[in-house]
Symmetry: C2
Subunit: 387 residues, 2 copies
């Protein structure tokens, strides 16, 4: 298949590109490199050094003989977006190309507006480009488990069969997201469902949990193929950040009580979910939703897992929660869909965490410990990025 990966230079986009190229698909990457620019703004870098995209692609070609095409395009530029899709003519578009950090969206008004503008308008432009060039293209869109929030009922896969006053309907699962970033994905989901319903497009919305890990078999081939590893309080996902804190001898910082429970997924499962979804597309007119996570863990459970495995003594510290979120809540998520497509989950295992420790130790000298402390406060209209 011809697969265009938007945001293919990012944390997950890049390993997905390699995984799909490895499986014989014709892969192209679209990116505007804005994720690398955020590093300059934040004053923090990926713990693992990452090569420029052209170097990455050359290294992949050296190792495998396979070519990955590239397009430099900003999705908020409708003409560039249309042109990229018209030239590559993909069967599938995998869309990672959004600002993806909740704290980044909560820095201040400018960052909230940027996040919603970038994400919502970018996706609208992709929908129009699909409709105008080839409505048969399957859009695989990265959503987030954070779209649902933490409702007091079980979380279904995107849709809900409900009864009310003796009548029934199948509706989009009600959302209660926890940041302007998560809201941007809720907006996307509504826009995409509409495009499927009115234009007959085909789309899969992947509501992904918190991803952990840094390596896939392909990225491990060569240092030049490494993907980014964010450990800071803004872009670093919680498990990765805890590993770095433990290696640096810093306390693992839990926000509030730590009873917050989230769906999590191994990076190797992420890239496999993208393959399975791409190879088994949604039907025309179908807005298909999967909950892309393999297990649920509370923040305390994640911290304790890291503390137990770490060879060094680890301290756990509770900080005042900078976010507004429930710290003790019901959390039961249906996530059968991707398993039915063939996913064989890697559950959180010592093996993976061992490799994370090794990677972290190798690059520990690059870490800036203060970048791991939260600075963005949900209750304030603006926060400073650095302490």
């Amino acid at each position: 298949m011809r697969i265009l990966i938007l945001g293919g230079d990012g944390y997950l986009g890049w390993p997905t590109a390699l995984h799909l190229s490895d499986r014989g698909h014709d892969v192209a990457i679209g990116d505007n490199f804005v994720r690398r620019q955020y590093d300059h703004e934040m004053g923090v870098e990926s713990l693992v050094p990452i090569a420029p995209l052209h170097t990455r692609i050359r290294a992949w070609h050296e190792h495998t003989g396979r070519l990955i095409d590239t397009f430099v395009a900003d999705l908020t530029d409708a003409h560039a977006t249309f042109d990229m899709i018209d030239r590559f003519r993909p069967d599938t578009i995998i869309h990672f190309a959004e600002q993806r950090a909740a704290p980044y969206s909560m820095i201040d008004r400018e960052h909230a507006v940027y996040t919603q503008y970038n994400n919502v308008i970018g996706t609208l432009n992709v929908l129009y480009a699909i409709k105008e060039t080839d409505p048969d293209i399957h859009l695989v869109k990265l959503g987030t488990m954070g779209e649902y929030g933490t409702p007091n009922i079980d979380i279904e896969e995107g849709w809900l069969e409900l009864s009310h006053k003796g009548r029934t309907d199948r509706v989009l699962y009600p959302k209660r997201p926890g940041s302007f970033y998560h809201l941007s994905k809720v907006h996307d989901s509504h826009n995409i469902e509409f495009a499927c319903r009115v234009w007959g497009l085909r789309a899969t919305d992947l509501n992904q949990g918190v991803v952990y890990g840094q390596q896939t078999p392909q990225t491990a081939l060569d240092d030049r193929l490494a993907t980014r590893f964010d450990y800071d309080a803004i872009f670093g996902t919680v498990l990765n950040r805890f590993v770095v804190q433990s290696v640096l001898g810093e306390p693992l910082t839990i926000y509030g009580e730590g009873g917050q429970t989230r769906g999590v997924i191994d990076i190797r499962d992420t890239v496999e979910c993208l393959r399975l979804t791409s190879e088994q597309p949604a039907d025309r007119g179908e807005f298909r939703v999967f909950n892309q996570m393999t297990e649920s863990l509370s923040i305390t459970q994640i911290a304790e897992t890291i503390a137990n495995i770490s060879p060094d003594p680890v301290k756990i510290e509770h900080l005042e929660n900078p976010r507004v979120e429930l710290e003790n809540h019901h959390y039961n998520v249906v996530h059968h869909g991707l398993v039915e497509l063939g996913l064989e989950p890697h559950l959180l295992s010592d093996t993976l965490i061992d490799s994370l420790f090794a990677i972290t130790r190798r690059y520990a000298h690059r870490a800036r410990p203060d970048a791991m402390l939260p600075t963005i406060e949900w209750r304030k209209p603006s926060s400073k990025i650095s302490n």
Copy 2:
């Protein structure tokens, strides 16, 4: 109370400003006049001539001795928005200032993107300005009944108590809107609910039905106080358009079967709902939703009402439906909230329609009959505005 009316130069914003000023409130209007600019783009004008805002305000002062302050600001300009709110320091902000026509949003990509950008980012800027200047300000935001679509269950007022697998929760009512415009209001609702939940703002979302009528006691005082009357297929609401078609001897054009049922409301009730809502604000942290409509009618029922009252013979014509919507569906809407605040609805009565016929006859020479035929096709990615 000090009440700032955003979009106060528009069809409903202007009569609302006069109604609230008449009741003794200190009213200011914020507008960027873009609604007048759409007229130039569409090549069609309000059937009833409207005076420039400064003339309107002078006329109101002549008649009543009351002053209405004005701010020229585009809500997508965050600094202008902040400055306006900081200078006027309202108790209540009534927010009509959005692109409000579903067909306009479906013209093509540019208009879809414009609509979502203008509406969603404008409202985000208002939320931030409230949070930054005075979080006690009550935001009264115009939503639309079209946010709900036509679900197979009864439509509640914004929230839904639901049971699922033996557990219960109160959630935002699931939405299935029918255009990129309606989607923009769904996005707004989610953003506003979040701001109430996280920042403790107070907001009322008014999901308004299709408004009919053109006069209120205040606008009828003087021709210079008239509000706009749109009859074209893009901005004209259906009942108003049918009246104009009947007066011009044109057939009333029903899209498809005509079983589409919508909530409707008299313009005099709209302005009263805004008064009642402003004077009885939501609590801090509350996201309050009312369904601002007084009765449900199918398009066929609306056409037959007009045909029965018209002194001239009226033909009803069914056109192929340019929209994607159910033409026969369940529609049962809860709309108690505003009645509990004190609304005494004007139901669709001959009296009002008589006055609409009189207004239309007076200005019939200004009508462009071809502008009443639909040109915007939902199933196409782009349509021409004129036939």
